[in-house]
């Protein structure tokens, strides 16, 4: 678990550094306001439930799980 956290932290630093180096003010502002956690790793529980439901039943039958995961992402600070 700690190893995973370290791995997730390192790319975040690299990405933010890269964005700042490329440097317009807008980009820097966007980078600062973005959540630290990656969207792919946020809300793992609702994400797994959504993914497995869609594989087995199709997207139209899984709107409940899709919305649950979306709400969780918004709570984490993502703009979805």
């Amino acid at each position: 678990m700690s190893g995973a956290q370290l791995q997730s932290a390192s790319p975040a630093l690299i990405i933010q550094g890269s964005q700042k180096n490329e440097g317009s003010v807008a980009v820097a502002t966007a980078a600062e306001s973005k959540p630290k956690k990656k969207i792919c790793c946020a809300c793992p529980d609702t994400k797994r439930l959504r993914d497995e439901c869609i594989v087995e039943h199709g997207e139209s039958a899984c709107t409940k799980w899709i919305e649950a995961h979306r709400l969780c992402l918004r709570a984490e600070g993502f703009n979805v």
Binding site: I15, I39, H57
Partner: protein, 316 residues
């Protein structure tokens, strides 16, 4: 890693612009190698249409894509439904029982079989198209024609109707291979690289353990940014056998729907958006049928062992 990807993205964005303008001026892909152009003459037709009127051409091509994809595999699907259904139920039942021992999950698997059958879009039809494209790439050993490969999909579909030999040759070159599919995007910060590394390691481990050849395939869910060059360079970093595919937004939408992969762009203002997408690896049989999916929780060993088990069961 991320900064390198970002730098490469800028470079390929520039080179893509040059390439595209060059193609527009010339009117045909001059970079095509002689064997490719000589063997796949129908390829020129879709390209010209696209050049003449991009917007309308795209719409017409998509319509043709949908209509052509539905009719040829229909006979196969109807003929093989009973067998595939029983196989699907048996495998899912045994696999799920061993993994979790839950009756409820087994019930869900049964429902999955039914819903797959009754889906509005046949898995087989789109799978056939995608693997045809992959077969083209594999046959010519080229990554730089991935986008053309997507066009080749439509050409080959038409060729199957008009000249079976051409279509059969292209498809035949790919049939008989087990395939592992993953949907991601090249700007993915970390989960896609992890999953692709897992996939690549599993491919090697499967061969080492059981002598079974599997073909890893990466399909992009970010058509706006993932060009042919971008995807080609990206997949090289993971495994020499990894085949990368991309396409137009409509094509990607159809493929993702057919494979039941969810993806959605974040509502960022600039081009630095993220794509939220399902994290699954699909195992497809040599007859291009869905066999099993593996989630993020599987590590290299469980993925490799799961594939080996399914392959051995399938042959019995």
């Amino acid at each position: 890693m991320a900064s390198i990807v970002s730098t490469k993205a800028n470079q390929f964005r520039y080179s893509t612009r040059l390439l595209f303008s060059h193609l527009l001026r010339q009117g045909r892909p001059s970079t095509l190698s002689p064997p490719f152009s000589s063997h796949l003459q129908p390829l020129h037709h879709p390209y010209k249409v696209r050049n003449q009127s991009y917007g309308n051409g795209s719409l017409r091509l998509c319509q043709r894509f949908l209509s052509s994809s539905s009719s040829p595999p229909a006979a196969n699907v109807s003929g093989e439904k009973p067998a595939s259904d029983s196989d699907h139920s048996a495998k899912d039942g045994s696999g799920q029982g061993k993994e979790s021992g839950s009756g409820g999950d087994e019930g869900q698997k049964s429902d999955a079989g039914k819903s797959v059958r009754g889906g509005p879009v046949s898995w087989l039809s789109f799978l056939l198209l995608v693997l045809t494209g992959a077969g083209l790439v594999d046959y010519y050993g080229e990554f730089s024609f991935l986008w053309l490969g997507m066009w080749g999909i439509r050409s080959n579909t038409e060729a199957v109707k008009q000249g079976p030999s051409v279509g059969t040759a292209a498809i035949g070159g790919f049939l008989g291979k087990w395939t592992l599919l993953y949907f991601g995007f090249t700007h993915c910060p970390d989960i896609c690289p992890e999953e692709l590394q897992k996939l690549a390691a599993a491919v090697d481990k499967i061969k080492e353990k059981a002598g079974i050849e599997t073909v890893p395939v990466f399909i992009s869910v970010d058509p706006e940014r993932d060009t042919v060059e971008q995807v080609g360079e990206y997949v090289k970093e993971f495994h020499p056998k990894l085949i990368g595919l991309t396409g137009s937004p409509d094509e990607i939408k159809n493929v993702a729907r057919a494979y039941r992969v969810y993806y959605m762009k974040t509502a960022e203002e600039d081009s630095d958006y993220l794509v939220d997408h399902s994290i699954v690896i699909y195992l497809m049989s040599p007859e291009m049928k869905f066999v099993k999916f593996f989630g993020k929780n599987n590590d290299v060993d469980s993925l490799a062992d799961g594939v080996i088990k399914e392959v051995k069961q399938y042959k019995k």
